[in-house]
């Protein structure tokens, strides 16, 4: 119980906790969400009730949820981390057997009133479980091979389940998220270097095997990889989305074409403009200034999280904060790289901006955990 070792007296109690909430972080989240409302209104051609209104309601519910979670002591959350992980894992398996198929993938659970994506929940519970694990693990065992295996398994099992849905984007986020928590926990650099080295080597081996007798994968799989890596080779097929996205982004210029004046999005050249590609509309209509502003907002959120974690002596709390910040980072970094043509198209939404109820709620709940860690942080003497 590291927390109790620290000064329990300094922790606020009752309604005074409200004062100790990391308010700048709340404001930053609200600011990002507002960018989202604006863009959802724009891509709906000025209709607020198309997407923006629902998103606002979800955000309001999410904010209440976040503050509620923040009020609950962090040690409670630590104690249910394992359970939460198992619950999310159970849901993932349930989705596999009786989930709802939508848009060619089996990711949703029908709750009657709404549908729910267990993989979204898993992103957070995985971070919680790993943080709790390293909180429990004595420091000197952190890099011992035997003690590296459990967190690796904790990460790989849900990743494999999500990959099977199939949802490549979320799988990558889970894998990277788990890895980053382990990195923060202090697992030796060598593990990361070895894993990255092995992955690079495998990729090289696969490509080197092309056309050889010992070809490792089938020809059609190679062709898929080709379009995956170079969408411009098929500008009207698989590459259409990314080509149009780049045109939209690039044509924005310094200041953009103005609110609701983006020709690419208004004339439907942009795909998925209210979900995965919403950033291109922002960049098209508000230009470099608009895009950079959002990037800075995200950067500040990450900064405040790192700041909060560095002030926190509680290993669980700071790991959780860093892990959730890393998850947020992975979300927007992958999404932006994708729309800018730096990464292949995988379905990853822009956090708090893209339209989507589950993602928004889960992310705000996660920041509730960050707030709880902040409010109940173990302050240095």
């Amino acid at each position: 119980m590291t927390y109790l070792v620290n000064q329990v007296q300094t922790v606020p109690t009752g309604f005074r906790k409200i004062l100790y909430v990391n308010w700048p972080l709340v404001l930053l989240l609200a600011a990002v969400a507002c960018v989202g409302f604006l863009m959802l209104t724009s891509v709906a051609g000025g209709e607020i009730d198309r997407w923006a209104e629902r998103q606002m309601k979800v955000f309001a519910v999410g904010t209440v949820l976040m503050l509620g979670i923040a009020m609950v002591p962090i040690w409670f959350w630590r104690s249910i981390s394992g359970l939460g992980y198992l619950f999310a894992l159970g849901l993932l398996i349930l989705v596999e057997t009786s989930g709802v198929v939508r848009m060619g993938a089996q990711r949703w659970i029908d709750l009657g009133v709404t549908v729910f994506q267990p993989s979204e929940l898993m992103k957070i519970t995985l971070v919680m479980a790993l943080a709790a694990y390293y909180d429990w693990l004595p420091l000197q065992r952190t890099s011992r091979p035997l003690w590296v295996i459990p967190p690796v398994l904790l990460t790989l099992i849900p990743t494999a389940l999500v990959l099977k849905q199939p949802d490549l984007g979320t799988a990558i986020l889970l894998l990277a998220g788990g890895g980053l928590v382990m990195f923060c926990a202090g697992v030796s650099w060598w593990y990361f270097i070895a894993v990255i080295g092995a992955a690079v080597g495998l990729v090289f081996a696969v490509f080197a095997s092309r056309g050889q007798d010992w070809q490792l994968i089938q020809d059609y799989q190679f062709r898929r990889i080709d379009t995956f890596l170079d969408p411009s080779s098929d500008p009207l097929g698989a590459g259409y989305n990314i080509t149009q996205s780049k045109i939209a982004l690039g044509s924005g210029g310094w200041t953009g074409k103005g609110f609701m004046q983006g020709t690419q999005s208004r004339l439907n050249f942009l795909p998925e403009k209210h979900t995965d590609f919403i950033f291109t509309t922002l960049a098209e209509e508000f230009g470099l200034i608009g895009g950079m502003s959002l990037l800075v907002l995200y950067g500040l959120i990450v900064f405040f999280c790192v700041l909060s974690a560095s002030q926190n002596k509680d290993r669980f709390g700071s790991l959780l904060t860093l892990g959730i910040a890393a998850t947020l980072f992975l979300f927007f970094a992958v999404n932006m790289s994708m729309v800018m043509g730096l990464a292949p198209v995988v379905g990853v939404p822009l956090p708090l901006v893209s339209f989507g109820g589950t993602a928004m709620l889960v992310l705000l709940a996660a920041f509730g955990l960050v707030q709880s860690a902040h409010v109940h942080r173990a302050r240095s003497r």
């Binding site: 119980m1 590291t2 070792v5 620290n6 429990w136 004595p138 420091l139 980053l180 990195f183 923060c184 926990a185 202090g186 149009q244 780049k246 045109i247 939209a248 982004l249 690039g250 044509s251 924005g252 210029g253 310094w254 020709t263 690419q264 004339l267 439907n268 050249f269 960049a283 230009g287 470099l288 895009g291 950079m292 990037l295 995200y298 950067g299 990450v302 900064f303 790192v306 974690a309 560095s310 926190n312 002596k313 509680d314 290993r315 700071s318 790991l319 860093l322 910040a325 890393a326 980072f329 970094a333 932006m336 790289s337 800018m340 730096l342």
Partner: protein
């Protein structure tokens, strides 16, 4: 498990260190994203902006409205009519087959149109309107409009299409338009993008194609914004089209209609021309066809029927048809002989019924011979031997070229520059021509054959009309078909005086008067008796083929015993009034038999119409023919003269 404060401190420090490292890495990556964004939005912005504009803006052509063609009195011959269509938009239709079936209960649509529409639908985007049927009656459109609520995705629609309100009357002159074919595009070096517009029509034959550049006008353009699916969102700017120029022809619609109707049962061609101005008042070619059929796209059944008809309705007999002129040519022989002085106007030649040159005997049409003939008698009675003699003298002293030169002066063998399709030059033979084409020298027999418009000589009705007009006026009038373009009159060139002494011209004119009015004239039955309207003409009968010895043995002596397509052509040329020439006519009835019986009567009727400006009154005809003429006119399907609705506009 309890931990020492030291370990906790250590752990916290480690996490903080790693957290800061990770934060730094994340910041670095955000920097990369920012730089990438700057690169795309600032450095490369211009390229992307261009691409976005290209995505967004389409330039569409606005087809111009085609110039209207009027007759000389401003009656529309070819105009643009509202074309009512039914259009189907697939995305608005639940069940395409069921909807089309329901439409077909209301409006008659041919199977091939439905098939074409279905094919088109599979090819195009679902929101593109596809024409299901066009050229519908207003009633059909109204029917559809009433039932519109029950037929989602079906809309009546209106466009412009060419229409020829006078039907077959002008088919050969004006021709017709049709959709642009692959062949049309291949023929053009640098095809106008306008031609790529579906349903755009261009001239195919006749005035419509020859004056295409004036009639077409210039396309306008509109810049439109389209979305990713190609759907038109709005019009950004418009640069309107320039309408085609309106043409006014020299043809008189009433005369043209009368001529077509008068010749309707024959395979015939007829040209009526103003002897002063050269205005072509009628160019009838019978039988004719309905050009509107071609605009819509003629069915192969209809087309084959037209193509296989032995009266050749698709063929323009007035300019495309060349025939031996027969005796209508004799004025040329006479004038050439007179001009060169090889025969005097009063000089007499003995006609024994034949003339022997070398070992061949050339017959006169009158086996028994005409006896003593002077110029006037020879033309009036169409004595062949007189012209054999005259041409022999001419060729002996001056060569056959003396005749052919004169023919060209009178327009024979000349290709007149009229906006009509397939104008034939005909043939006026010369020694040089024969050597070149046949590798043979000119023979005395060739001279004799030529002198009576047989042998190699070929002329078109247009050329014969020009010849007659030049005889009548004494001036080298040029035929013309276009009276004004966009309201601006086409100037008439001053016609030079013919190089023939007027006494000689008058002798010919007098003889032609005798043909139509003289006691022994070959066309006396087809005269106009009204005072001041008298005709001067000349009949002609041109042999298609000699009656063979075998046929003679079978007992075939007369023309009407032969199969139709081997009978003689009947020709007639004339002008009127004799004392104050106004109009000239040339007419041929293919395989119609003799000129006096087949060609002279309709020529007289048509010329009389031209003189009176309407169906001629019965007083114009000889008394004994009036009953028959009256019955004939009642039987004919003559369209009453039309009044122009509006003046030809300057558009």
């Amino acid at each position: 498990m309890r931990r020492s404060p030291k370990e906790t401190e250590q752990a916290a420090a480690l996490v903080t260190r790693r957290g800061v490292i990770l934060g730094g890495l994340q910041l670095g990556f955000m920097g990369v994203l920012g730089l990438r964004m700057r690169h795309m939005q600032v450095t490369e912005a211009e390229n992307y902006r261009l691409l976005a504009e290209e995505n967004r803006i389409n330039v569409r052509l606005i087809p111009p409205s085609r110039g209207i063609i009027f007759d000389r009195h401003g009656i529309a011959i070819a105009e643009n009519a509202q074309n009512y269509r039914v259009v189907i938009v697939r995305e608005d239709v639940d069940d395409v087959d069921a909807t089309i079936a329901r439409v077909r209960q209301l409006v008659e649509i041919e199977d091939r149109d439905v098939e074409r529409a279905l094919r088109e639908m599979r090819r195009r985007s679902p929101f593109v309107p596809i024409t299901l049927a066009d050229q519908l009656a207003w009633e059909d459109v109204a029917e559809l409009a009433i039932n519109a609520p029950a037929l989602p995705g079906i809309t009546p629609n209106v466009g412009l299409s060419r229409i020829y309100p006078l039907g077959p009357d002008f088919a050969h002159i004006v021709g017709y338009v049709g959709p642009v074919s692959e062949r049309d595009l291949e023929r053009l070096q640098n095809p106008n993008p306008l031609l790529q517009i579906p349903e755009f029509q261009i001239g195919k034959i006749g005035v419509e194609t020859k004056l295409e550049s004036q009639l077409r006008g210039a396309a306008g353009t509109k810049r439109i914004e389209v979305n990713a699916g190609g759907r038109v969102m709005r019009e950004l700017s418009r640069d309107d089209y320039t309408a085609g120029e309106n043409l006014q022809l020299t043809i008189d619609h009433g005369l043209q209609n009368y001529a077509q109707e008068r010749l309707a049962k024959e395979s015939a061609g007829c040209v009526v021309m103003d002897v002063e101005t050269g205005d072509l008042l009628a160019m009838a070619s019978a039988p004719s066809f309905d050009p509107n059929l071609f605009v819509r796209g003629i069915s192969s059944k209809d087309y084959n029927a037209l193509r296989d008809n032995e009266y050749k309705p698709l063929f323009n007999k007035t300019v495309q048809g060349v025939y031996p002129p027969g005796s209508t040519f004799k004025m040329m022989t006479a004038l050439a002989a007179l001009r060169k002085g090889v025969i005097g106007p009063g000089e007499r030649v003995w006609c024994p019924g034949h003339m022997t040159v070398g070992r061949r005997r050339f017959h006169c049409w009158k086996r028994g011979g005409h006896g003593w003939m002077d110029l006037d008698d020879a033309i009036t009675q169409s004595c062949d031997v007189y012209f054999y003699e005259a041409s022999k003298r001419l060729a002996d002293r001056f060569g056959i070229e003396a005749l052919s030169e004169l023919c060209h002066e009178f327009g024979l063998g000349e290709r007149f520059d009229l906006p009509l399709s397939a104008i034939e030059e005909g043939l006026i033979p010369t020694t040089e021509w024969k050597r070149r084409m046949r590798d043979e020298g000119w023979l005395p027999g060739d001279t004799l054959n030529s002198s009576i418009g047989q042998g190699f000589v070929l002329t078109s009705p247009l050329q014969l009309a020009v010849m007659t007009a030049r005889i009548a006026s004494g001036r080298a009038v040029m035929p013309r078909l276009v009276k004004s373009i966009n309201g601006v009159d086409v100037p008439i060139a001053e016609a030079p005086v013919m190089d023939i002494p007027s006494s000689q011209m008058n002798a010919i004119r007098k003889a032609m008067w005798n043909v139509s009015n003289g006691r022994r004239g070959t066309a006396r039955r087809s005269r106009i008796v009204a005072e001041g309207m008298e005709m001067a003409g000349k009949t002609g009968t041109s042999q298609v083929r000699n009656i063979t010895a075998e046929e003679r043995a079978r007992g075939v002596f007369r023309n009407d015993q032969l199969p139709w397509n081997r009978r003689d052509h009947g020709l007639f040329v004339a002008y009127a009034p004799y004392d104050k020439p106004k109009y000239a006519i040339a007419l041929i009835v293919e395989h119609g038999g003799g000129g006096s019986s087949a060609a002279a009567p309709p020529s007289r009727d048509i010329l009389a119409y031209a003189l009176y400006g309407d169906v001629p009154p019965l007083e114009a005809y000889p008394e004994d023919q009036r009953e028959r003429i009256k019955a004939m006119h009642e039987e004919m399907n003559i369209r009453p003269r039309l009044k122009p609705e509006t003046k030809p506009s300057r558009a």
